[in-house]
Every structure is written in C-alpha cells, then in structure tokens.
C-alpha cells in the first residue's frame, strides 16, 4: 500500500511529466503546475477519503486528469500569447524610445538635448502612452513598469548618443 509520501512522489512525477511538455516562461509554468498540483492533491485526497487505496487513487486520478495530453493543450493555449507578450515587450519600448529620440532633434537636425526635451509636452505624452499601452496590454503594473523601465533605459541611450 502506498504511503502519503509515496502518493506525493507520484504527483510530483505527474507534474514533471507535464512540465517536460511545456516550453513557456518560468512564471507561467510555475503557476500552471501549482494549479495542477492542487487539483491532483484534492482528487487523491477525495479518493482516499472515499476509501480507495492511495496507490490506485493516484493512478486513477492521473488517468482521469489526462497527464499525457494536458501539457500539449496547455502549451497550445499559452505559447502564442507568450510570443505575443515578448514581441510587445520589445516593440513598445523600442518604438517609444525611437519616437523620443526623433523628438530630441530640432528641425535643423542638431540635437536639442534633455534640457529642451524636458520642456516639451510630447516627451511626457510619449512616456505616458508607453506606460498606458503596456498596462492595457498586460493588465499588471509589474510588467507595465518593467516595459516602461526598458523604455527609459533605451531613451537614455538613444538620446545621449
């Protein structure tokens, strides 16, 4: 008969099998696996409470869950959006920084510098637009601020050189 520790190990093995089929960001994978772990643990607990042998419970829960097919379905669901996220995370700050760089040049083509730039409303409009667009896309301040930080880092480089 399987002990609680053994059933835990079997759930770990199911999770490893699912993780092996995922090629997503570490945060996405961590959240998916945490959610799946909860499901498997709840299902095994329920089955054992109903009097099922823990060994059988783990096996049956794994089959019912579809360990073999779920990784592919999760990958198909999340991968396109992860790619889109990465593209947006690159395009938004680069585009914003390029626009900002364009704004730093006066019509004659000479660099206006930060002193001039800071007085132009367009600097703040571009900056706020980059932040707002990231926030609208990601719905998370953490990601939006990371994109915004990247935008400012690029801007400093683009404007300085």
């Amino acid at each position: 008969m399987m002990s609680e520790q053994d059933s835990h190990l079997s759930i770990e093995s199911a999770l490893r099998q699912i993780a092996a089929g995922l090629r997503l960001s570490s945060q996405t994978e961590r959240e998916l696996l945490e959610e799946i772990r909860g499901h498997l643990e709840d299902a095994v607990d329920d089955a054992v409470r109903r009097g099922q042998d823990p060994d059988d419970a783990v096996r049956e829960v794994g089959e019912r869950f579809g360990v073999a097919v779920v990784a592919e379905a999760l990958q198909d669901e999340h991968a396109p959006w992860e790619s889109a996220d990465a593209i947006v995370a690159c395009i938004l700050p680069v585009a914003g920084a390029l626009i900002l760089r364009w704004l730093t040049f006066v019509p004659a083509g000479s660099a206006a510098g930060w002193g001039f730039l800071l007085l132009r409303p367009s600097l703040w409009v571009v900056s706020v637009l980059v932040l707002a667009a990231s926030l609208l896309y990601y719905h998370r301040w953490r990601y939006a601020l990371a994109v915004w930080g990247f935008f400012w880092a690029l801007s400093l480089i683009f404007v300085a050189f």
Binding site: G38, H39, A43, G66, V67, D76, H78
Partner: protein, 112 residues
C-alpha cells in the same frame, strides 16, 4: 468524434459559465460540479479544463484570483465576469432554441 464528444466540445464553455454563475470556484471544484450535475455525461479529461479556463480568462469571460487555503497552499478561484454572464445568457438561449428545433425535427422519429 462521437456525437457526444461533438456536443460536449461545443458546450463546455457554456457549462463552465453556468456553474460559475452561482459562485467562484477552483478548477477541481468546477470539474466535480460538472460531473455531479451531468451524472458524468460530459465526462472529459479533467486536465483539459485548464486550457479552456485560461482561454476564457483571456477572452474576459472569467477572472481568476489566487487564494491561500491552508498554510502555503493556494487555490486559483475563477469567477464569472459581466461579459461572461452576457455570454452565458446568449449561449443558453441559443442552445434552448437548438434543442427545441431539434426535438421538433426528431418528434416523428421512432426511437424504439
């Protein structure tokens, strides 16, 4: 694909929305509730519920929130959104219309 599989595939979103319209639930709870209410008729691989829930979240039909339940253990609860409720109404009406028309057509069929 069997007729049952085809019907299930076309109606799983509706079933999940119907279950969530009563209260927020976590994945395993949704799966149990679906099995209980349908007597296992809509039985599917439970793991396939998650890609579906994640797609519904992306489409704005449900929202999700992690909640700590005991110690460090967390559960992700899904709740129906306003857009989800509207979709539920629309899809439920569509299915009722479909079933009503289907029954009309099948009324003359001898099933014995």
């Amino acid at each position: 694909m069997s007729i049952r599989d085809q019907i299930r595939k076309g109606s799983t979103t509706l079933l999940i929305l119907a279950v969530l319209s009563e209260e927020p639930m976590y994945g395993y709870q949704i799966s149990r509730e679906l099995a209980r209410r349908s007597g296992g008729y809509f039985d599917m691989k439970e793991g396939l519920l998650y890609p579906l829930l994640h797609r519904m979240k992306r489409e704005g039909l449900v929202s999700s929130q992690w909640q700590t339940v005991s110690g460090a253990r967390r559960r992700k609860y899904y709740a129906i959104t306003k857009a989800g409720l509207e979709a539920l109404q629309e899809q439920a009406q569509e299915w009722q219309m479909f079933m009503s028309q289907l029954q009309g057509v099948l009324a003359g069929v001898n099933l014995s």
